[in-house]
Symmetry: C3
């Protein structure tokens, strides 16, 4: 199934608009190119609205949100939503500051994104309205581990039901769920958490996968999560003893460039609950 989904990305080469942070924008663009999509980025509301109408999918990311980018995200998000383009929201640092929590909550409510992708602390902050995150990384206490998996699956399905979005929570085990089904994904490598923006890159990738597979949003999101994790495994596997997170960052995008739909089909490790 993931083979056909990825094949669609490579074939259709969807135009993905990102209204995103400047810290990891370059990696998002190169990852989109690596998967076969075509990136375009803006933070100006007028420009964002016009590009939202032209794009196949929209990636909204609040990593360096500010008074210009917030209106651009709302405006582009609403326009894309009206036109039926899938919107992926990445609520970077939700729970860490009021502005982040409120902006992400507002986007969730007013744009109603097709997919919400974050770490567990961000998703919990949005689900509960409470704040517990420290910076932009997930709290250790929140981590989805094997022994808390059942509880986490229930939480994510419930939140998906309430929001109408596919929810992707990434961590040691990744969960991708709508109200009915949850993919529990075991691709990935710990070093990815030492590379800035792997979450942002995954959100951008998810927008490409969703844009090329608008009728299978749950599966497209799960495929993107598996693809990113698999590329992380490949990248980590290439590291020599002198190399670290910076080389791994390069190898991660390289791996996506070389990944075939058949590789993804074969390498994806998940179960559906």
């Amino acid at each position: 199934m993931f083979e056909a989904i990825f094949e669609n990305v490579r074939q259709k080469s969807p135009l993905v608009l990102s209204v995103t942070n400047y810290v990891t924008a370059n990696d998002c663009a190169n990852l989109l190119l690596a998967c076969g999509a075509s990136p375009v980025m803006t933070d100006e509301p007028e420009d964002a609205v016009e590009l939202a109408a032209a794009c196949g999918g929209l990636h909204l990311n609040i990593g360096t949100l500010n008074q210009r980018t917030i209106p651009a995200m709302f405006a582009a998000g609403k326009r894309a939503r009206e036109l039926g383009r899938p919107v992926v929201l990445d609520p970077v640092g939700a729970g860490a500051t009021h502005l982040r929590t409120e902006t992400a909550s507002g986007l969730l409510r007013e744009v109603r994104p097709a997919v919400l992708r974050g770490n567990i602390s961000e998703i919990k902050a949005l689900a509960s309205g409470e704040s517990a995150a420290r910076g932009v990384d997930a709290d250790a206490a929140d981590q989805v581990t094997e022994d808390r998996l059942r509880e986490a699956v229930d939480f994510v399905k419930d939140f998906a039901r309430r929001t109408g979005a596919v929810i992707a929570v990434t961590g040691a085990v990744d969960l991708v769920a709508d109200g009915e089904r949850a993919f529990c994904i075991r691709n990935g490598h710990p070093i990815l958490s030492a590379i800035t923006g792997t979450g942002c890159q995954l959100s951008a990738l998810t927008a490409a996968f969703a844009a090329a597979n608008p009728d299978q949003l749950l599966e497209a999101t799960a495929a993107a999560v598996c693809a990113m994790g698999l590329c992380g495994e490949i990248a980590a596997g290439r590291l020599t003893r002198e190399e670290g997170n910076a080389s791994c960052r390069t190898y991660l995008i390289d791996a996506m460039y070389r990944l075939t739909p058949a590789d993804l089909e074969q390498g994806a490790r998940y179960e559906v609950r």
Copy 2:
């Protein structure tokens, strides 16, 4: 000829000011350092005007244009123009949105850049006032190919005559022309289109080459285009079967760092029409 032009860049180490997008700013800065120039970047109008007076050349790039950077580009552009510093305009996404088309047209009219560098869709949008581009990549239908080369050369020379700028159109074949002569350049490699910002990097490089060779703008621009294409060939040639666009991005800048003026003279592949 290109040997002496590149030698001037290495010797004079021009200060190049970029008012550019945040997606590829880091690569532009590292490529400028690799060629021997010194980069400085800003997007604040007041700061931009003062730096424009200090710089040897100015790179204006509308890739993530907004209500702060647009005035900064106009102000810096006019100041640099008054002082006789070469200005290179990169109209990223002209034709894709009204704001981009109008901003690029306005800069072309009011700043009168020494060099205009874009893909064929962007340049056609500016020449015709019409929009056809999808995102920031050139439309396949617009591509300059061998069998449409003569027509493209005429178009570019004509637009150069009308604007007074050297026009550089990059694609499968690159064209660099003023009103009289056109360099048809066959350096480069297809993988460059899978690396975000190779166009932006070329525009920044062109500003460095023009700054160091202000009396030979046509040749300096052609030399920059050949140098970038040649480095793309070298970079692509280094790729192993595991590597892709991300490694190529690194190798491209590495290649510029190692490129000698004699390498450029020997590797440049072009004819003048």
Copy 3:
């Protein structure tokens, strides 16, 4: 001594807030992750103030200062100062434009950073109120060389005394001083000056080292400078004949990822005057 200081960074994993330029933000974030710290970035005043209260250390960098980031830097800086969090100020391009000189001077006066780190031209511009810099690189005439070391040490100690900050001046020889003692550091490699943002990265690293060692600001700053220089040596030593500044940029961060506290203790080359 540096072993224990670096050990604290790895153990405590301080949250470092950067209000910094978009040219090198990605490298700053990856270097922070490489050393064991946790990065978060913003440029919106409200967000910056709230994150300043949560962070262990604050990195302020005026590389692409503008009318939004300037208030964010003042607001975050004052809040961090109130709460006793160490603030590191990087006055990129002070001396090159009025806006940069005045902003850096204002931050120095109103935030009273724990550490001021720049090149010699920037530091002299702030000490004297005069401008001599060209762009963002140090003037050759200003460089700290062995035969002018004594004079430079006196200048830096005096400026440290006047400002109450630890002053770090990086160049051929690096100086780190408070009013009493100066570390003269001889780690590093010339190729670092051909990589954009190595200074920014060092400032971010210094914020991490200071955050994890708030009672030893002088030593923590000296340790960060040694660590960066040592990683530069390791990175430069890995370069093949085809590789240049772009590969070195990657290897630099890799080296930090692999560096152990014992490596730093052993590789640090300095004397105290």
